[in-house]
Amino acid sequence: MVTSVTSFGRSGLYDWLIQRVGAVVMAAYVVFICVYIATNPELTYEQWHALFGQLWVRVFSLVTLLSFITHAWIGLWSVLTDYLTERLMGGKATVLRILAQVLLGGVSVTYLVWGIEILWGFK
């Protein structure tokens, strides 16, 4: 099958685990940001700048972004292999799906590079 070769870990169990580990990381990050914003209602640029100036916050943010990309790849792979199928789309299904996955890959790499630039690029 041409489906499994485009999955993230080439194994359903591995994908399942990666997606869940990433989910826990992202949930922790969402709670962290929400608590920070809720406890600092009059947030200033200086405070925000200092928060992201700390190495651990940058690393936490980058790990969250990596989790997002892998989690999204696994999730969108499931969606694409469910709907861009020969039964629903006819003979061009595989070509369409590979094109969609190349596009998603391009967006993912853009997000990653942009994210690194944001986190390590500001003065």
Partner: protein
């Protein structure tokens, strides 16, 4: 694999239970968030770049169109997170029965709607 095996899953002829709607929305919110995260990255980028661009994010959050976009992204995130936590609980064996699944879906849906409403209050 036998490609000629019979398939009969015309969803429009099947009455879907709440668990199905909750699951379809989980997928849709996930697809939506893949695009929506660009808004959050833009906000992070501008808020860190300089004092002026930080103020620009503040100003943008007073714009009604931007308010709506931000609320939509946060609503998608809230829904997907609540349903994701339900998934993790089910992976641990909680609410896996037919009745438990329906109850879990209802509780998660109510929780998500409350969170989305609260986010609306916060954004506006």
């Amino acid at each position: 694999m036998n490609k000629k095996r019979p398939v009969n899953l015309d969803l429009s002829t099947v009455k879907l239970p709440i668990t199905a709607y909750v699951s379809i929305l989980h997928r849709l919110s996930g697809v939506f968030l893949f695009a929506g995260v660009a808004v959050l990255l833009w906000m992070l980028d501008s808020s860190l770049d300089s004092q002026e661009s930080f103020a620009a994010v503040r100003d943008a959050s007073n714009n009604p169109v931007f308010k709506f976009v931000l609320w939509a992204v946060l609503a998608g995130l809230a829904y997907h997170t609540v349903m994701g936590i339900r998934h993790l609980l089910m992976d641990c064996g909680l609410g896996e029965s037919l009745e438990g699944g329906k109850r879990g879906a209802t509780i998660a849906l109510v929780l998500a709607i409350v969170l989305i409403a609260l986010l609306g209050v916060w954004v506006w």
